[in-house]
């Protein structure tokens, strides 16, 4: 009996171990990069990058088909994070650094059509049918989708103002006091 128990236990352990190893080394490789890139994007599916949503943009990035500078709402922080992840240098010359923006509704022009409300992916617009709408600035991430659907051009994108809360010292500009190295001529 002991032989039977022993042999079965050994077989179980060996086969179990093999299965475990197989699961580990022969696993189907999903592209983990895509998932990681998706995590870095804002996830608001605004489509300003030209792709349908953030997952599609992440997929294109993972394949190396898209530039890292396309995400407008993510701003410089996202571009730098993506560039670092992908090991590429972000060409910020194409990226127009506008600074963060938020939407603003010109109340005189708003007719209360609720189209922007339906478009907003972060529920940052308050309002109801035939009533004036307004933007909850803290939640607006500046994707600009609402601007495109507004029938009366009542929505503007305005820069997020500099306040005491977000002001900080600029980079010190030190004078270069050391003279240019003189190139000696050999005679």
């Amino acid at each position: 009996m002991w032989i039977a128990i022993g042999s079965l236990t050994t077989m179980g352990l060996v086969l179990g171990g093999l299965l475990g190893l197989a699961a580990r080394f022969l696993a189907v490789q999903e592209n983990p990069l895509e998932e990681e890139l998706k995590e870095m994007l804002p996830g608001s599916q605004c489509g300003q990058c030209g792709y349908v949503g953030c997952s599609q943009y992440a997929a294109a990035l993972a394949k190396g088909e898209a530039s890292v500078t396309l995400c407008t709402p993510g701003g410089k922080a996202t571009i730098e994070a993506l560039a670092k992840k992908l090991g590429v240098t972000a060409d910020l010359s194409e990226h127009e650094e506008k600074g963060p923006e938020h939407a603003f509704i010109v109340e005189d022009l708003c007719i209360g059509c609720t189209r922007c409300i339906r478009e907003c992916s972060t529920d940052a617009i308050m309002g109801a049918n035939k009533l004036m709408h307004t933007i909850i600035v803290d939640v607006c991430h500046g994707c600009g989708k609402c601007v495109k659907v507004c029938p009366t051009d009542a929505i503007l994108m305005v820069p997020v103002p500099v306040t005491l809360r977000n002001w900080h010292w600029p980079k010190p500009q030190i004078e270069q006091t050391h003279s240019e190295p003189k190139v000696g001529h050999a005679h």
Binding site: G43, G75, T122, H141, V162, L164, W167, H168
Partner: protein, 500 residues
């Protein structure tokens, strides 16, 4: 008492003699006061008054809102002119929401909260509530709401209340004068705070260059066995709470932790005096002592100033400028910030106003780093300023963050010592600003993501409900009851389909 050494530090020329023998004098009440809604760390207070309201001295005019905030009180009696944007006492010169109060010249007190008869019999909440209602914030400069710091006894095991009377910044003598002139009030306030915190021991740390203050405080504390007045070495930045704790206990506060994690809570001596006034007399924090000094000031003074007086009013009271100031600084010369405008008001955290001449300022041109490592030797936080600045100069902020730039508290010792006059601390202030910006942006992106996900779930649910309703309508029904049954069934099947 055995003291422990602190790392690094510098010995600047203290120049305290300009005001140290000047007794505190009252500022004649200005005709207009400007009381900002935010004079503290945290959320701005919520306005309780509107244009034309008549208020009395000590009346609450803005209430604290949110977890970290402090209320504001009328510093004198008069009429509210308006609530508007006024230049803040800040290097940016940006405006902030401010209550403008026109004094009626009577300086009449409002009906104040009743004094707490025996604070040592009262429970901690009674005292903390009173401190919160009185709008008291840390008066050493950081202006953190004091009631929150007094609540720490609930969450952490505390053994010592450390009163900070170090006043290590050159020029400043306001705490020195308060300790010399009102030692009993400070001691009483400290005992009340220790009672609220549940600490058995009180230590008062004063730099040894203030012998008179040490003497008066020792005399006032002699009746109480639990209080110890300690003369600490004269070494900038001894007044930093982490460094004072280290000098007294030998314990170093870990990065991103509080001194309370070591069982010690630090409060400024003037804060203790404000607590005394709030508890014993029901008086809120409506005035503070400000040192006005510097070679460009005609008559340097220590002035008891109502909160909201313009800095220009203080300078005028000191006889104006003797010569053209190169810079007017809010706070001490080491950690203070240049003021963009003299129209800005004095707030609860204003300890000094310095008008400095060109000779008093180091504005020598920057020359290349000679790698002398003086900055590394003197950094009281044990950081390596030369390396951090090099990274920041090349915009490699993450590398600077790895070297601990966020642990720098901008004491300015490195800039002071640098023989090449490299603006080291300016680099760190810039880097901390940008890193905080990025952190805010990341937080916002996180929030956007959660909101977007929540919306998607909601839309899906709505679409599902619509499909279900549509399917239910299409099903023909003979009787009401049968129809209802059918509807329920169809909904179920539709849901199953959707789920599948």
């Amino acid at each position: 008492m055995k003291l422990f050494p602190i790392r690094g530090g510098i010995h600047p020329d203290y120049r305290k003699e300009q005001t140290s023998e000047k007794a505190i004098v009252d500022l004649p009440m200005p005709s207009t006061l400007y009381i900002p809604l935010q004079q503290h760390i945290g959320a701005p207070a919520e306005v309780l008054v509107s244009e034309g309201d008549l208020v009395k001295k000590g009346q609450m005019i803005a209430r604290n809102q949110g977890a970290v905030s402090a209320s504001q009180h009328a510093p004198t009696s008069g009429r509210i002119r308006t609530v508007t944007e006024v230049t803040a006492p800040h290097p940016s010169g940006l405006p902030q929401s401010t209550i403008v109060l026109e004094s009626d010249g009577k300086d009449e007190w409002a009906e104040l909260l009743a004094p707490i008869a025996d604070p040592f019999a009262a429970d901690m909440h009674t005292i903390n509530d009173r401190v919160a209602q009185s709008g008291i914030v840390g008066m050493g400069g950081a202006a953190f709401p004091s009631a929150i710091k007094l609540n720490l006894g609930e969450q952490k095991k505390l053994d010592t209340l450390l009163l900070n009377g170090a006043e290590c910044e050159p020029y400043l003598t306001c705490d020195d004068r308060v300790m010399r002139e009102f030692p009993e009030e400070i001691i009483d306030g400290a005992r009340i705070m220790a009672h609220a915190l549940g600490t058995a021991r009180i230590v008062i740390g004063i730099e040894q260059n203030k012998p008179q203050a040490i003497e008066n405080m020792t005399k006032a504390a002699s009746a109480f066995a639990e209080i110890e007045v300690v003369g600490v070495p004269v070494q900038y930045p001894m007044g930093s709470e982490r460094h004072l704790v280290q000098a007294i206990t030998g314990l170093e506060t870990p990065a991103r932790k509080l001194t309370a994690d070591l069982g010690i809570v630090v409060h400024n001596v003037s804060t203790a005096r404000a607590v005394h006034h709030a508890v014993r007399f029901g008086r809120p924090l409506v005035s503070r002592v400000v040192t006005v000094s510097g070679n460009a000031i005609r008559e340097p003074k220590n002035i008891m100033t109502p909160i909201g007086a313009r800095i220009a009013d203080l300078i005028e009271f000191c006889g104006g400028f003797a010569s053209r100031p190169e810079s007017v600084v809010n706070g001490g010369p080491m950690m203070g910030q240049p003021l963009a405008s003299l129209e800005a008001p004095v707030v609860k955290g204003t300890s000094g106003i310095l008008a400095l001449t060109a000779e008093e300022i180091n504005d020598n041109p920057t020359t290349p780093c000679i790698r002398c490592s003086s900055c590394v030797t003197i950094c009281p936080c044990g950081l390596s300023p030369v390396d951090m600045a090099a990274h920041i100069r090349k915009d490699k902020l993450e590398l600077a963050a790895k070297l601990g730039v966020m642990d720098c508290f901008s004491c300015g010792s490195c800039s002071f010592i640098c023989p090449s006059h490299i603006p080291l601390v300016h680099y760190f202030n810039y880097a901390k600003g940008v890193l905080n910006d990025l952190e805010r942006e990341r937080n916002k992106n996180e929030r956007v993501k959660t909101l977007a996900e929540a919306r998607n779930i909601r839309l899906e649910k709505a679409a599902e409900a619509k499909r279900a309703a549509l399917a239910a309508r299409k099903t023909p029904s003979a009787t009401t009851s049968a129809g209802n049954e059918n509807e329920a069934k169809t909904t179920a099947t539709t849901e199953e389909k959707v789920n599948a």
